[in-house]
């Protein structure tokens, strides 16, 4: 090993003891004075430079959740027996695991890669996908699908032209190359995301129950193997540090505080594909005792988390780590966030077999450490992790203090002074379209607006067919993949969040995100089972933002209890703001559901003529935060639609049962843009028209554009109509026959009787032209 850049004296533990008063760059590494003091107290001496590096990345906001922990606790506390029933692995592991029946388990999680994607959209988004896929793999599962909830600045903001195509190409470039079908996501445009795009990535994996693996280093003498890509100097402290500060402070390259190396890494999806196949073969051959992916905080995280969760200690020979750049110092190796790496704990007798599998896949693997025994005393202090460099000890710490016992903050929060004024400025008072012609214009304008228009410019860049199990993908309400070819068992996933609702009322906004995602899964015919979430907010140091966060987590936790679906894991992304202006609070919620027989799924598009169209649920005059207020008036104020979990449950149960019994041919939930947009999408999906009579007790505008929740439209074959209607009646689910499907092909028309007629060709033109006009055909 040649060291060109290494400091004259290696900062060993002995050296640290000898030089207790040495100045250390803890401030540049992002630690606060009391955190540094805490660290000295834990070690009863000053940390070595390597220890300082480890603690600083692991105690960063991104890795330690120090500002969010006290709020996230509710997800674990508000759990009922109903919620526990399906839960096999809960919060705290790389991803949660749920029982989906027939001996299968599903694992899924959503994570953010927001800041790197602004700096380098393609690579930032690509490595975001790569990271979440490794989390799923580390649970023992084969990754089977991805979803990508995205947020961008306004469509007409110049930087959106740079950011959006790069991010989409990056999500596609990485996921396509891995062979993971992209089955859903979101693409939302709002000016608050300019300079702060959100790239959230969700991955779903599937395994047999007995294949669940955990991130644990146990068994004295077991070997610690690092495998995958070699370690380089890019992205040292990247994700964790970048995502843990006010963005404006941290340069994109070497200019920021603490002269950070380039914080963006280049992903190698081919390496990751080999890593997936190699790891699955290792699981299959039962060669792995414990496993952890390397993501944020790299080796610092993997070694300390594995050691902390296990029953022993760990000894690591850091100079055995294969390097791409021989000049890296030990601190840098510990902090590097080089992609496409995994760490496994393996019994000594299995090491040769392990290496053989890696060679078959051309994956480099190196024994870099060993699980050690700990004394009772050491165990009580949080275990013992020793890292050695060229024969000298450079780290000797209780791993629990690094990985799990980081600082916890009760950050101050308070309802913002402006919240009341915002809520009293409702959209219900805005001028509305009145005549049929005006309603027709409004419907067209909304259909062509950035958030409601055709997203195929984006989704056509994603492979949705690979693996041959995709039953539903964009633009369906939920993505759905088959899990078991023999039985037809499958899972469905959707992600949602309306940040405008969350701004108006973060508690309700988080619940509305949950309700919508839950409803989407149910609409596809699946039974909602469990939740993952990605909480994207501004700076936690701003009491207004912290209040939004506190309200959103409380809302989500209580909502999950109401719906009986546990939160299994997720991610928090803070500091999403440009200067003083935070993004809309964006608690993205992903719901996973299960369906016994994927052939019974319900697609969203009307498929044939002459079927009865029913509107399910209750429509109220709810226009604040709506897409109509946003697009037509540029208005945001008032209170969001009412949350009604009992109604959501009734609707979901009806839709899942109707799918199972073949009572509905199509179903589509109502959300952004209300009934109008739902009809647009249901008609355009397969080119089938509709003749609709709006309920007489409602103002036509409200009937078309209100965004009341717990609603859906369904197409029911005439033969099933009475059965379907009586089932709704039994559980008092409001169901209004509002028309029938009529007309096929481009000659077909969407007709709202007494108001307007709109040829599908004209509608399609408006709906599909928006993104190509902005980003090129």
């Amino acid at each position: 090993m040649t060291d060109q850049r290494q400091p004259a004296t290696l900062d060993t533990v002995d050296h640290a003891l000898d030089t207790p008063d040495a100045q250390q760059p803890w401030r540049d590494l992002g630690l606060k004075p009391d955190e540094y003091a805490q660290l000295r107290e834990i070690l009863a001496r000053r940390p070595t430079s390597s220890e300082l590096a480890m603690y600083s990345v692991m105690w960063s906001e991104h890795c330690s959740y120090k500002s969010s922990k006290v709020h996230l606790r509710q997800f674990g506390e508000l759990v009922t027996d109903e919620m526990r029933a399906c839960l096999m692995v809960g919060i705290g592991e790389n991803a949660g695991v749920v029982d989906i029946g027939a001996g299968y388990a599903a694992t899924f999680k959503v994570e953010s890669h927001n800041h790197p994607s602004y700096v380098e959209p393609y690579q930032g988004a690509a490595t975001g996908v790569g990271g979440i896929v490794r989390d799923i793999l580390a649970m023992g599962a084969r990754p089977v699908a991805v979803l990508d909830p995205l947020r961008f600045g306004s469509l007409d903001a110049p930087d959106t032209l740079r950011v959006m195509p790069g991010i989409v190409a990056g999500v596609g470039g990485y996921g396509n190359c891995l062979g993971l079908p992209n089955i859903g996501g979101e693409a939302v445009f709002d000016s608050t995301y300019a300079g702060n795009p959100l790239v959230n990535a969700l991955c779903v994996g599937v395994m047999r129950h007995e294949q669940i693996h955990l991130a644990k280093a146990s068994g004295e003498g077991n070997q610690v193997i690092l495998y995958g890509a070699s370690t380089g100097g890019d992205g040292i402290g990247g994700v964790s540090v970048l995502a843990s500060e006010t963005f404006a402070d941290s340069g994109s390259s070497t200019s920021g505080p603490g002269k950070k190396r380039p914080s963006v890494q280049v992903g190698d999806p081919f390496m990751e594909k080999l890593l997936i196949e190699c790891t699955l073969e290792l699981f299959e051959a039962d060669l792995v005792v414990g496993i952890q992916d390397l993501g944020g905080a790299g080796l610092s995280c993997a070694t300390s988390e594995l050691a902390s969760a296990g029953d022993g200690g760990m000894h690591v020979w850091l100079d055995r780590v294969p390097l791409r750049d021989a000049s890296l110092a030990p601190e840098e190796i510990l902090m590097s966030e080089s992609q496409e790496r995994m760490m496994a704990v393996v019994q000594p007798a299995h090491v040769d077999a392990f290496m053989r599998v890696c060679r078959r896949w051309d994956v480099e693997a190196t024994v870099i450490g060993e699980v050690t025994a700990v004394t009772d005393d050491e165990a009580s202090r949080g275990g013992r992790l020793v890292i050695e460099w060229q024969g000298e000890t450079i780290v000797d710490v209780p791993p629990r203090s690094v990985a799990h016992d980081g600082p916890v903050y009760e950050r101050p929060f308070a309802r913002p002074a402006w919240q009341d004024a915002l809520q009293s400025d409702g959209a219900e008072k805005l001028p509305r379209p009145k005549s049929g012609a005006e309603l027709r214009e409004t419907l067209l304008q909304l259909a062509a607006s950035p958030n409601l228009c055709d997203k195929s410019w984006i989704t056509d860049q994603y492979d949705r067919y690979v693996q041959g199990n995709t039953v539903l993908s964009q633009p369906e309400d939920a993505g759905m993949v088959r899990v078991d070819a023999d039985s037809g068992l499958g899972v469905a996933v959707a992600t949602d969040c309306n940040g405008r609702f969350a701004k108006l009322d973060p508690y309700a906004g988080a619940q509305l995100a949950l309700a919508e995602s839950y409803r989407n899964v149910a609409t596809s015919g699946a039974r909602p089972l469990a939740v993952t979430d990605c909480l994207n907010f501004g700076s936690p140091e701003d009491p207004d933002v912290m209040w939004q966060f506190a309200e959103a987590t409380r809302g989500l936790a209580e909502g999950c209890r109401e719906l009986g679906v546990p939160v299994t894991g997720g991610n928090v992304s803070f500091y999403n703001q440009t200067g003083e202006t935070p993004i809309l609070p964006t608690p993205v919620v992903g719901v996973l559901g299960v369906i016994d027989q994927v052939a019974r799924r319900t697609p969203l598009g009307f498929a044939s003529e002459g079927q009865a169209i029913y509107l399910l649920g209750t429509t109220r005059e709810e226009l604040s935060g709506s897409e109509w207020a946003h697009v037509v008036h540029g208005h945001l104020g008032g209170t969001p639609p009412q949350v009604d979990f009992a109604a959501e449950r009734a609707l979901a149960a009806t839709l899942a049962a109707a799918a199972c019994d073949g009572l509905v041919e199509a179903a589509h939930d109502l959300s952004d843009g209300g009934l109008a947009q739902a009809l647009v999408e249901s008609c355009l999906r397969r080119g089938v028209g509709a003749r609709v009579r709006l309920p007489e007790d409602l103002d036509p505008f409200v009937a078309l554009f209100s965004e009341s929740t717990a609603r859906a439209i369904v197409a029911v074959p005439r033969s099933e109509e009475s059965e379907f209607a009586s089932r709704c009646a039994v559980i008092s689910l409001p169901h209004a026959a509002i028309g029938e499907t009529a007309g096929l092909g481009d000659g077909a028309v969407l007709e709202v009787q007494g108001q307007f007629r709109l040829p599908l060709a004209e509608l399609r033109e408006a709906w599909s032209a928006t993104l190509p006009a902005a980003f090129g055909a």
Binding site: V119, E120, D234, S253, P262, Q265, V266, F270, D325
Partner: protein, 82 residues
């Protein structure tokens, strides 16, 4: 008429998966003794008229903003008179 060549390479510390793949393939084809391969992009721009210092400065800006991403890439610009 002049030709300007812009070479864009990933910064040395950034992973280059493409170069790595080529590096891995060479020995399999019997080419040994190669210790590293980096793969980058080469742009050839044909320009009308003379190349003034000012135009060259403009081109450098194009290289920096359009042809490369300075976060991960370095570039060089050179004129090949014809």
């Amino acid at each position: 008429m002049a030709r300007v060549v812009v070479d864009v390479m990933l910064k040395p510390e950034i992973l280059d998966p493409q170069g790595k793949a080529v590096h891995g393939a060479l020995p399999r084809l019997g080419f040994d003794g190669v210790t590293d391969v980096r793969q980058g992009k080469r742009f050839e721009l044909e320009l009308e008229g003379e190349i003034s210092e000012e135009r060259l400065a403009e081109l450098r800006k194009a290289a920096e903003t359009l042809l490369s991403n300075p976060v991960i890439e370095d570039y060089t610009v050179r004129v090949e008179q014809q």
